[in-house]
Amino acid sequence: MVTYIIRRLIGAVLMLVIVSMVTFSIFFVVPRIAGATAEGFASRYMGRSANAEMIAVTAEKLGFNDPLPVQYGRWISGVFVGSEYDTGATIEECPAPCFGYSFIRRQPVWPDLVDRIPVTLSLASGAAVIWLLCGVATGVLSALRKGTVFDRAAMSIALAGVSLPVFFTGIVSLVIFSYGLGITAPGGSFTPFLENPVEWAYSLLLPWITLAFLYAASYARLTRAGMLETMSEDYIRTARAKGMKESRVVVRHGLRAALTPILTIFGLDLGLLLGGAVLTESTFSLKGIGDYAVQAIVTNDLPKIMGVTMVAALFVVLASLIVDLLYAVVDPRVRLG
């Protein structure tokens, strides 16, 4: 078990290194291939008012002329020990963990992200609870009553659910429930959980349901397929043959086996959402990490985009690590194999 954990941890670190390299490449190598110069980079950070000479000086001072590995190393070391940016006129401080420094707003990226994590976390966790419960329950019931009206109806709704873009369902539900009927909070409302849990749940109810609907639909389809497969296995017949209660057969023998692949996907989905539920946040005007990414792209603020991309990738890697470790606890074949 210990060796498995160590092996998996090393794997996760390697993954992070690779992901960071790819992120770095997107922002520094890809534009270079597209023909951008060091001065071109510097002018992005300087704003439009700077003249050519100032830009050239800044490009040199910020190190855009250095070899790429050096620039990558500097960026990574910033994450651990922080960095300083000498733009010539001023020295900008970016304390660790420095995931980038926005020269346009003159502030480091990390504190902004920390401010926004609660929103995204609230949104993702609430929705996750709803979709996991609803999706799996629907899938199991559908599989057990295969071919019935319930099954057909549930699967039709699920298919519709995976075919509707979340930004469309989001706006439609906002228009109907918030602005029309007035029973849910309007877009953009958020109350921190610690301030008022009831208000917190009320303000996020609609985004939760909208986001959960999309995922619940695909989870219902997956669970149904998985359940249909496991319920036709020999050991289910054996369990029934020895006189076990049907409910116990379904839950302990059927569902348990059908759930494991679902959990893997769940971990990845949750990790992805923590890195910014981009569409849901922007539809409901929630100031989360995804919204931050959109704002960064709209304002052309490269360090911000880079920081948020890296943090998002971090969440996914962490999530898949946690899922793998949980797997090892649940399934002995994983840690021994």
Binding site: M15, I18, V19, V22, I26, F27, V30, P31, A34, G35, A36, G40, R44, L159, A160, V162, S163, L164, P165, F167, F168, I171, V172, L174, V175, Y179, L228, S232, D234, L268, L272, G275, G276, V278, L279, S282, T283, G290, A293, V294, I297, V298, N300, L302, I305, M306, V308, T309, A312, A313, F315, V316, V317, S320
Partner: protein, 333 residues
């Protein structure tokens, strides 16, 4: 999957092989995989409906200029006369008439029907080409990983893991954003650049989904008897790859390509909705919805592009599901 306990197991296992080989026990005709699939598909009314809608959508996309010529107005033509200037909303609420089938946009009164029809072009073009890119990369990588095994498999599988760990939407947004900024260096501009960029980004990040499936299939195909037989007859690597393994991969490739298209339609719509896809004034479904957000009192503005996405994605999903059921003998309904 398991034979009944009282059945003479050994003989039943042999019979299907004999039938396939055309041994002619009861003059059973050999059917190709395509024929069997078509037989199944013909019975699946829902999948056929999906296929019909897909074909219709493709026709609409191809003949968009013609359709708009007959039934609508140019997609970027303003019709201020249709707008109530005091509220900036269409006269009579929607402006739907025989002349404007889906009504007009608020403020500038562009023909919604034409814009939805032209949106189909962008949407399908990007989704289909991006899918093709994913399929090509995914198949090559998957076959290589599955067939050669060893370190090739390790490297490719790890690469796929890395790709799957990426927050796709954020990365795509970042990449489109970064490349879009340096567009003057790329030699192409405007829609052509954006379309190319989106195809590349969407296609390039989605290949591991297909790659994984193809790898798994290749792994199991490699160990099958007919591959052994070919090898023992002296067939070399390329022959085995292209004549023995690849033809057997066509079914999964078709299925997952069909199921990837709707995902890509959604992806393109999402990027355009966020403003990093195709830029205004070119009509895209996602872009139209993002504009419609500001006019929630004019619901038809959002309804038509939303329904267009819904119908397109649903049709491809229905067809893809049907195709999977038809081509995969293991799946049961």
């Amino acid at each position: 999957m398991t034979a009944p306990l009282d059945a003479p197991g050994k003989t039943t296992e042999v019979v299907p092989e004999a039938v396939l080989a055309g041994a002619g026990v009861k003059a059973v005709q050999g059917r190709s995989l395509g024929q069997i699939a078509w037989m199944h598909l013909k019975r699946d009314k829902v999948a056929l409906l999906g296929a019909g809608v897909v074909i219709l959508l493709i026709v609409i996309a191809i003949f968009a200029p013609l359709i708009v010529d007959v039934f609508g107005h140019p997609p970027n033509e303003f019709h201020q006369e249709m707008i109530d200037t005091s509220t900036m909303t269409p006269k009579g609420g929607t402006g739907i008439s025989g002349d404007f089938l889906f009504g007009v946009e608020p403020v500038n009164g562009r023909d919604l029907f034409s814009r939805v029809v032209y949106g189909a072009r962008i949407s399908l073009l990007i989704a289909v080409l991006a899918t093709m890119l994913s399929v090509v990369i995914g198949t090559v990588m998957g076959v290589m990983a599955g067939y050669f095994g060893g370190w090739v498999d390790t490297v490719i599988s790890r690469t796929m893991d890395v790709f799957l760990a990426f927050p796709l939407l954020v990365f795509a947004m970042a990449l489109v954003g970064v490349l879009g900024q340096f567009e003057k260096n790329l030699g192409v501009t405007g829609d052509t650049l954006r379309i190319g960029l989106l195809i590349f980004v969407i296609g390039f990040f989605n290949w591991p989904y297909i790659g994984r499936i193809i790898r798994g299939q290749t792994l199991s195909l490699r160990e099958r008897e007919f591959v052994d037989a070919a090898r023992s007859l002296g067939a070399r690597g390329p022959y085995i790859l292209f004549r023995e393994i690849l033809p057997n991969l066509i079914a999964p490739i078709l299925i997952y390509a069909t199921l990837l298209i709707p995902t890509n339609v959604m992806f393109e719509a999402a990027l355009s909705f966020l403003g990093v896809g195709i830029q205004a004034p070119t009509a895209t479904w996602g872009g139209m919805i993002s504009q419609a957000v500001k006019f929630y009192n004019v619901p038809h503005f959002m309804f038509f592009p939303g329904m267009a996405i819904f119908i397109t994605v649903l049709a491809f999903n229905l067809f893809g599901d049907g195709l999977r059921d038809a081509l995969d003998p293991k799946s049961s309904r």
